[in-house]
C-alpha cells in the first residue's frame, strides 16, 4: 500500500472528497438562502430601513402588525386565495388528468398543449388576463352583453370581491396544468387490469375511481398538493402584475404587502416581519399535506406499482 501525502489523502478519502463535491452547492445555498433566511428573522426584530441598519426593538414590529387591519386583511386574502384556488385546482386537475388518461387520438399532442399555461412566464400570462379583465374593453363583458346577460361592463379588477375572484381564477388557470400532468403521471402507473377486475366484480365508474384510482394515487396527490399549496400561498407575481394589491388593499396577499411595506415604503423591518409571519403558515401547510396524506411505504419509490 502506497503512503499518501496529506494532499493525496484529501483527494481520495471519501469524506474529504465529498466536501470538495458539495462545496459549490453549499456556497450558493449558504450565502444566498440560509444566510438571508436567518437575516430575515433578525430584521423582523429591528427597525431597519432601506440603506440604514436598524437597532433591535424586540417584538415591536409584530405588535404593530397585530393592530394593523390591512395586515389582517392580507392574511384573510392569502388564506382565501390559497384554500379556494387549491381546492379547485385539485378538483379540476384531477378531472383533467382522468380525461387525459383515456384512450383517444392525438393523445400526445393534447397532453403537451395542456401544459403550455404552465410554461409561459406567469407575469406574461397575467398581463393577458389583465387585458381580458379590462374595465372598458373586457372581452368577457362584451360577450356577456352580446348574450344579453348583463347591461353594464363588469369592473373585474376595480371592485374588491370581483378582483379577488378574478385573481383566483387566473391562479387556477395557471395551476391546473401542473396538477393535471403530474397526476396523469401517477395514473399511468395504475395497471388497467385492476379496473377490469373491478368491473367484473360489478363496480360502477364512481366505485372504480373511489376504491381503485384514489387510494393508489394518494401519495402523489400529497406531494403535488403540498407544492401547489406552497406556491399559491407565497404567490406574488400574479397579484403584482394585475392589481398591485388594489383596489384599496383588497387583494393584498402577505407577499405583496411585505413587498410594498418593505421595499416600496422602505420599512425593511416591518416587511421582514410580514414575511416571517408567513413561515408558521407554511410549516402548517407542509405538515398537513405531508403527514395527513403521505404513506410512508411509498416514499422511497419502491412500492409504487
Amino acid at each position: 500500500m502506497k503512503e499518501l501525502t496529506p494532499w493525496g489523502r484529501l483527494m481520495v478519502n471519501r469524506n474529504w472528497l465529498a466536501i470538495w463535491f458539495m462545496l459549490p452547492a453549499a456556497f450558493f445555498l449558504l450565502m444566498f438562502l440560509a444566510w438571508p433566511l436567518i437575516l430575515g428573522v433578525w430584521l423582523s426584530f429591528t427597525d431597519a430601513r432601506l440603506a440604514r441598519p436598524g437597532v433591535f426593538i424586540g417584538l415591536e414590529n409584530y405588535e404593530w402588525l397585530l393592530d394593523d387591519s390591512v395586515f389582517w386583511l392580507s392574511v384573510f386574502n392569502t388564506l382565501l386565495y390559497t384554500i379556494v384556488a387549491s381546492i379547485v385546482k385539485f378538483a379540476v386537475g384531477l378531472y383533467l388528468a382522468l380525461l387525459l388518461n383515456r384512450h383517444m387520438p392525438f393523445k400526445a399532442i393534447i397532453r403537451s398543449v395542456v401544459l403550455i399555461p404552465f410554461i409561459v412566464p406567469t407575469v406574461l400570462s397575467a398581463i393577458a388576463f389583465w387585458w381580458i379583465y379590462d374595465s372598458q374593453f373586457s372581452i368577457i363583458s362584451w360577450s356577456l352583453k352580446q348574450m344579453g346577460l348583463i347591461n353594464q361592463n363588469i369592473n373585474f379588477l376595480g371592485d374588491g370581491n370581483w378582483a379577488r375572484g378574478s385573481l383566483i381564477f387566473a391562479n387556477i388557470w395557471r395551476g391546473v396544468p401542473f396538477v393535471a400532468i403530474t397526476l396523469l403521471a401517477g395514473l399511468q402507473t395504475v395497471s388497467p387490469s385492476l379496473y377490469e377486475a373491478a368491473t367484473l366484480d360489478g363496480a360502477s365508474a364512481w366505485q372504480r375511481f373511489r376504491y381503485v384510482t384514489y387510494p393508489l394515487l394518494t401519495p402523489i396527490i400529497a406531494v403535488v398538493m403540498t407544492f401547489s399549496v406552497l406556491f399559491t400561498f407565497t404567490d406574488f407575481q400574479l397579484i403584482w402584475a394585475m392589481t398591485r394589491g388594489g383596489p384599496a388593499n383588497a387583494t393584498h396577499l402577505m407577499a405583496t404587502l411585505s413587498y410594498s411595506r418593505g421595499i416600496l415604503s422602505g420599512q425593511l423591518g416591518e416587511g421582514a416581519a410580514i414575511a416571517t409571519s408567513m413561515i408558521p403558515f407554511l410549516l402548517a401547510a407542509i405538515m398537513f399535506s405531508w403527514f395527513g396524506l403521505q404513506r410512508r411505504k411509498w416514499q422511497h419509490g419502491e412500492n409504487n406499482e
Binding site: P24, L43, M104, L124, S125, W131, Y259
Partner: protein
C-alpha cells in the same frame, strides 16, 4: 438492442391494455363524457394565448371599437405594435438580459448540482442522507420570504443592480430542484460500471465525467430545460435586486416599463408578452418529454 425491442413490445401491450374497456362506450357517450369537457377545458386554457396573439396584431382602431368589428377576429392585421416594441423600447436589450441571466445561472446550478448529487448518491459520505433531506427542504423555501433580507445581503456584497446578482441568486432556486432530479438519474446507473473503472485506476473525477455524465444526459437535459424556464419566469428577485431600466429582465420590464396610462398600450403590451413567451414555448415544443419527466420526476422522487 433486445432491450429496445422488449420495451417497444411492452408499450404496445400496455397501449392495447389501455384501450381496454373503451370499446364498451358508445360514440355519443364518449362525446359527452370525454370530448365535451376536454374541449371546454382546453378552450379556457388556450384562450388567453389566442387573445394575446390576436391583440398584438390588431390595429389600434379595432382594439377600442367593439361594435363595428367583431373583437374575436382581426381585419387587416398589423405588425406595428411589434415594430414599436422592438425599435422604440429597450425590449431587445431586456430579452438579451433575460436569456443571458437564465443561461448563466442554469449552467452554474447544473455544475453545482451534478457534483452535489453525485456526492450524495455515490460517495455516500457520513451524513449524506441528512444533506439530501436538507437540500429538499431548501426547495420548499419560497423566494417571497427571502427577498427583503436578500436585498440587504446583495447590497452588502456590492452587487445591487447588476445582472451578476441575479446569476448568483437564481441557483438557490435551481440547485435544490436539479440536485434532487439528478440524484434520481444517478441512482439508476449501475454501480458495477464505476467499480470496473475504479479497478482500472480511474479517479472519481474521471468516473464522473467519462462514465456517469454521458449516461445521465437525458437527466441533464431535463434539469437544464426546467431550470432555464424557472429562471425566465422568475419575477420577485429580478424586481427587487435590479433598479436600472437597461438591466431589467423581460417579465419585470413589461410590468414596470411598458405599462403607462395610454389606452393604446395594449397592442405593444400583448406583443411583449407574446415575444417573451415564444422562446420558452419553442424550447418546450422540442423537449416536451424531457420537460414532463423533469416536472414529474421532481415530484415523484
Amino acid at each position: 438492442m433486445s432491450d429496445a425491442v422488449a420495451k417497444a413490445a411492452a408499450t404496445e401491450a400496455q397501449s392495447d391494455a389501455r384501450e381496454g374497456m373503451s370499446y364498451l362506450e358508445s360514440i355519443p357517450m364518449r362525446l359527452v363524457t370525454l370530448w365535451l369537457p376536454l374541449g371546454l377545458i382546453m378552450l379556457i386554457l388556450l384562450f388567453p394565448f389566442y387573445w394575446m396573439v390576436l391583440t398584438s396584431v390588431k390595429p389600434n382602431a379595432q382594439l377600442i371599437d367593439m361594435t363595428t368589428y367583431n373583437p374575436f377576429w382581426v381585419v387587416s392585421p398589423t405588425l406595428e405594435h411589434i415594430k414599436r416594441l422592438l425599435f422604440e423600447t429597450e425590449y431587445p436589450r431586456w430579452l438579451w438580459n433575460t436569456m443571458y441571466v437564465a443561461f448563466a445561472s442554469t449552467m452554474l446550478s447544473i455544475f453545482a448540482s451534478v457534483l452535489a448529487a453525485y456526492a450524495i448518491v455515490r460517495l455516500r459520505f457520513r451524513g449524506a442522507q441528512m444533506i439530501g433531506g436538507a437540500i429538499f427542504m431548501a426547495y420548499l423555501i419560497p423566494p417571497s420570504i427571502l427577498f427583503i433580507p436578500l436585498a440587504s445581503v446583495i447590497h452588502f456584497y456590492g452587487l445591487f443592480d447588476s445582472p451578476l446578482a441575479l446569476i448568483l441568486v437564481y441557483p438557490t432556486i435551481l440547485i435544490p430542484f436539479s440536485t434532487w432530479l439528478l440524484m434520481g438519474y444517478f441512482k439508476t446507473i449501475p454501480f458495477e460500471l464505476e467499480e470496473c473503472a475504479l479497478i482500472d485506476g480511474a479517479s472519481r473525477w474521471q468516473i464522473l465525467t467519462r462514465i456517469v455524465l454521458p449516461l445521465a444526459i437525458p437527466g441533464l437535459i431535463s434539469a437544464f430545460i426546467f431550470s432555464f424556464t424557472l429562471c425566465w419566469n422568475e419575477f420577485i428577485y429580478a424586481l427587487t435586486l435590479i433598479s436600472s431600466v437597461q438591466n431589467r429582465t423581460v417579465p419585470v420590464a413589461i410590468v414596470s416599463e411598458l405599462v403607462d396610462g395610454d389606452v393604446y398600450r395594449w397592442g405593444s403590451l400583448m406583443a411583449g408578452a407574446m415575444l417573451g413567451s415564444l422562446p420558452l414555448v419553442i424550447l418546450y415544443a422540442f423537449f416536451v418529454e424531457h420537460y414532463v419527466s423533469a416536472m414529474t420526476g421532481a415530484v415523484k422522487e
